[in-house]
């Protein structure tokens, strides 16, 4: 399940950042490696929320800086659903 989630998240980030999916590895940092600015960060958050039909807590948004963290967070929210 986690693999599919990771794939979907990577696809969303590839669409928004312009980086290829192969380049977006779990430890890549949104801001330092993937050139995500504040507008794209919200774009990604909203896209993930819509895709998985979840609501990310506001206070978690600034703390998510890597792909791995994003996947873990989505996983934990899906389990709670």
């Amino acid at each position: 399940m986690s693999d599919t989630i990771e794939k979907d998240i990577v696809a969303i980030i590839a669409e928004i950042s312009g980086f290829d999916e192969e380049e977006i590895t779990p430890d890549k940092n949104f801001y330092e490696d993937l050139e995500i600015d504040s507008i794209k960060a919200i774009e990604i958050t909203v896209a993930i929320e819509k895709k998985f039909k979840i609501s990310v807590r506001d206070e978690d948004v600034p703390n998510i800086t890597t792909i791995r963290q994003a996947v873990d967070l989505v996983n934990s929210l899906l389990i709670k659903k």
């Binding site: 669409e15 980086f19 504040s38 958050t45 909203v46 896209a47 506001d58």
Partner: protein
């Protein structure tokens, strides 16, 4: 018939500011780019026109985002536009007058805080915190804003209802929504321009901006066709392969960027059968923003003018922005007006948000509305305006549609409702490959700074992929 050698990497439909900025970046990087614009001049809503011996800015009349580190400053510097136009800043940029008080927005935000706090001493701390939020946006707040309306943001910081209405009014004038309906994220983008960074104006008028971008685009090797509509976007196997011009010419290309409204792009230009049901349904649910009635008055050179040039004067005669918004749909629109004296030429522009009506309605009503609008401006801002006016005309929603083809003459693309914020399908449609949208129909931002960012970000996205494929 076009030959293969006529193929372009990218065709951009529409030479609005978003399309031009995007085209400049792509051409500068070496891509072969064509921009086709249906109007005989570039700029979209950011154009000027001459009539009766007077030159008027058609709709866009000043801009923000030009501070150090601002998106417009960055883009104009990178595209070498900065050195070709002289941009002046007016301070105060905006004066918002209500029945009880007037607040001014200055080039130094601390001066604005000082002035507003002297009118609302009990709110001194709140006003400073509110302004500081925009000066140093906190990532947590940015995250919150995606779920908030601008009203929630105002309520979070400010107590006084009249002050909230005054602060929110320029947002109504630049986004066409009351704060109770506007996405806080988009509202904050618009607001940041006002508070930190408003009042910029190019010497010679707003047309200088698209003209200069067009010149740069051509110097970078781009090709700009004016008075040439695109009639069709061709797609095969779910992928864009070219466009058909109005003159029947078929232009093959790898990628199409539409600076047009999303309905036109998806329903008229593309084969609408390509649309998946959920996107079609969403498209039919989406609400466009309000349109605009814009009054243009040419005045005699010796007329004595009580307003200073280059300042946006906002007159709010009723604090209930929800009622003003409802009334705008019922042709009762006199309670919120923005008036401006154009720098150098000293012409008068006045703006009111109105709902769309067809051409016949405006043919029957335009003259009456002009007289009523002049009378209103005389009463609230410029006594004797009718006597000093030697030329008068107006743009109706139908005019805005005719020149730009924005759906229903919408002044700011899709309404920036909280429920319409950040719709990825309206920026990068998933049902067809290599089609992108730029401009104020992309649900991520409006105004000059918003569309400049949209053009820049789509170019950045494409260049990352293109550089990898070819370099």
């Amino acid at each position: 018939m076009s030959k293969a050698s006529d193929a372009y990497d990218v065709v951009i439909i529409g030479a609005g500011i978003g399309g031009l900025v995007c085209g400049c970046y792509l051409a500068k990087a070496g891509m072969k780019v064509l921009i086709a614009e249906q109007h005989f001049k570039p700029g979209g809503y950011c154009t000027s026109f001459t009539r009766g011996g007077f030159t008027f800015d058609a709709a866009a009349h000043s801009f923000g985002g030009y501070r150090e580190g601002g998106i417009v400053r960055k883009v104009f510097a990178e595209l070498a536009v900065e050195s070709k136009i002289r941009i002046n800043r007016f301070s105060p940029s905006d004066i918002i007058t209500t029945p009880d008080f007037a607040i001014q927005l200055h080039d130094r935000w601390e001066d604005s805080v000082y002035g507003i706090s002297s009118l609302f001493p009990d709110e001194r701390k709140n006003i400073r915190r509110f302004f500081e939020y925009f000066v140093h946006p906190d990532p947590l707040y940015s995250a919150r804003l995606r779920k908030w309306t601008f009203q929630q943001l105002l309520d979070h910081f400010i107590q006084d209802e009249k002050l909230k209405a005054a602060l929110a009014y320029p947002l109504y004038g630049n986004g066409g929504l009351p704060p109770s309906l506007m996405s806080a994220f988009i509202g904050a983008e618009i607001f940041t321009e006002f508070l930190l960074d408003g009042g910029y104006y190019p010497e010679g008028g707003m047309q200088k901006i698209p003209d200069c971008l067009s010149q740069q685009f051509r110097e970078f090797g781009g090709e700009l066709l004016l008075s040439q509509s695109v009639n069709k976007i061709i797609a095969e196997d779910g992928k864009v392969t070219g466009v058909v011009l109005e003159n029947g010419g078929v232009i093959p290309c790898q990628c199409v960027i539409s600076n047009c409204d999303a309905r036109q792009t998806f329903l008229s230009l593309l084969d609408s059968k390509m649309l998946c049901d959920n996107v079609l349904q969403r498209l039919n649910e989406m609400e466009p923003s309000l349109s605009m009635f814009i009054l243009y008055c040419g005045i005699g050179q010796d007329a004595s003018m009580p307003l200073h040039e280059g300042i946006n004067y906002w007159y709010l005669q009723n604090y209930d922005l929800n009622a003003i918004y409802r009334n705008a749909h019922n042709e009762n629109f006199d309670h919120a007006v923005m008036v401006r004296v154009t720098p150098q030429s000293k012409n008068i522009l006045a703006f009111q948000n109105v709902a769309f009506h067809d051409q016949t309605f405006w043919q029957n009503n335009k003259d009456m509305w002009i007289e009523r609008f002049i009378e209103n401006v005389e009463n609230i801002a410029i006594p004797g305006l009718s006597q000093m006016t030697t030329f008068k005309d107006a743009a109706t929603p139908s005019t805005l549609y005719r020149y730009t083809r924005n759906y229903q003459g919408a002044a700011y693309g899709w309404a920036s409702l909280l429920s319409q914020f950040a719709e990825p399908e309206f920026k990068r449609p998933s049902f067809v490959k290599n089609l992108f949208l730029v401009g104020h129909w992309t649900t991520f931002g409006v105004g000059i700074a918003g569309v400049v960012y949209s053009g820049y970000s789509v170019a950045d996205l494409l260049l990352k992929k293109w550089k990898k494929a070819y370099n």
